[in-house]
């Protein structure tokens, strides 16, 4: 009885902190569900950064110039670093890196389904930087104010580093859009294929989103999926116009009274189908991750052997 009321009091104080915009730090008391929710969201975010290296990595050896190759290498390197920041933030919640990686490889944990789409042309590298990173930045800017301190600080660092990702993508699109007819066509085709999946990155409509309401109450999320998606749709319209490309959404139209663009409906059937493993590259992405992980086995073995040798040396020679 006393235990229950203590628990209720702790939860009340916790919610009060959240309501007062006071950050939660790793050693604070927190409800189990808050912890689990955060581990799920942050690790999903981390997995997305890591798996997201594959579609772009596909073009490093085929970038059209040395300049583009250097930029792309830099960008992919950033994504690896962002994965690390986010794994570390998850680990402050008491889960190990090993458990997180196992959850990814077994399919228990998800990553952004956009990365299950293949990169078929150089234009796709431009579209990913512009649209996929653009959508991710919308989300991440909002998450700089998330209630969990280590996550918020990670987001601030990531947003700062990521500021060039979207611009380099748009620059690629601009070069193609101002190039030959064939290049323009490549840009249009990449825009057509990546626009809708980019909108899906914000997740289901608010009413359908499994974790949204509680996440908003806990300020893990600061803006709803639909509000963030609308922001992205609005900012993208003039960018498409400037490229002189056709908007992939035939229903896009300015709504004066809302002060936003109205838009066509997203193909949610496709969204759930890709999430549930039936995108073009789901199996390939995980198999690649598992293979790379296995191929790194000898490095982990060597580290462990070295550590053991050092330990034995320290025992023999205490100085």
């Amino acid at each position: 009885m006393g235990g229950n009321s203590d628990q209720a009091e702790l939860e009340r104080q916790f919610q009060q902190r959240i309501d007062d915009d006071i950050k939660i730090e790793p050693k604070d008391w927190m409800p189990d569900a808050y912890r689990e929710n955060l581990i799920r969201q942050i690790s999903q975010h981390a997995h997305s950064e890591v798996i997201g290296m594959q579609p772009e990595g596909n073009y490093i050896t085929r970038a059209p110039s040395l300049r583009r190759k250097l930029i792309l290498l830099s960008k992919v390197q950033d994504e690896a670093g962002h994965g690390l920041y986010l794994y570390s933030a998850s680990e402050t919640l008491g889960i190990s890196r090993l458990e997180l990686i196992e959850a990814l490889q077994s399919g228990a944990a998800k990553y952004a389904s956009i990365f299950n789409y293949p990169t078929q042309t150089w234009g796709d590298v431009g579209a990913i930087g512009w649209l996929v990173d653009g959508a991710a930045i919308c989300n991440q800017v909002s998450l700089q104010r998330t209630s969990y301190g280590p996550y918020a600080r990670g987001m601030i660092r990531i947003c700062k580093e990521e500021s060039f990702h979207q611009r380099q993508g748009y620059e690629i699109m601009l070069a193609l859009a101002r190039g030959s007819d064939e290049q323009r066509q490549m840009a249009q085709d990449s825009l057509n294929r990546f626009y809708w999946p980019a909108l899906m990155m914000f997740g289901p409509h608010d009413g359908e989103s499994a974790h949204s309401a509680q996440s908003m109450r806990w300020k893990i999320k600061r803006e709803t999926n639909d509000a963030l998606r609308q922001k992205f749709i609005d900012q993208t319209v003039p960018q498409i116009e400037f490229l002189g490309l056709d908007h992939p959404d035939r229903d896009i139209s300015w709504n004066e009274s809302r002060g936003h663009y109205d838009h066509g409906e997203i193909d949610w059937h496709e969204f759930y189908s890709v999430i549930n493993g039936n995108g073009h590259c789901n199996r390939q992405r995980l198999q690649h991750h598992i293979r790379a992980h296995q191929e790194g086995e000898w490095v982990r073995d060597a580290l462990a052997a070295y550590q053991e040798k050092q330990r034995q040396r320290d025992c023999q020679d205490p100085d």
Partner: protein, 95 residues
């Protein structure tokens, strides 16, 4: 005469919730618990922070500043890592 043989600890203070801990100085103490109390008394007398970390100085592994050029590549030859490197026309520059 007994000489003081206490260990050196480095002190980090979090000024406000939500911010990173910042290094503020060092002190001598017997163990972690004592270091925390001394740090409180020494470094947070004027509301400097809400949380303190203490770390044994010998546990800190530091790079040397004179090695900066070979160890920490300043990446001056990689300006493309910065957003300002990408010149976009005015109408779409807000990105």
């Amino acid at each position: 005469m007994t000489r003081e043989t206490l260990e050196l600890f480095e002190v980090f203070v979090r000024p406000r919730r939500g911010l990173d801990h910042k290094h503020v100085g060092s002190l001598h103490a017997q163990d972690h618990a004592q270091a925390l109390e001394y740090a409180r008394d020494c470094y947070t007398r004027r509301g400097e922070g809400v949380s303190i970390w203490v770390v044994r100085s010998t546990d800190i592994c530091a790079s040397q500043e004179e090695d900066v050029e070979s160890f920490i590549d300043p990446s001056e030859d990689k300006p493309y890592r910065l957003a300002t490197y990408y010149r976009l026309p005015d109408p779409v520059d807000n990105m």
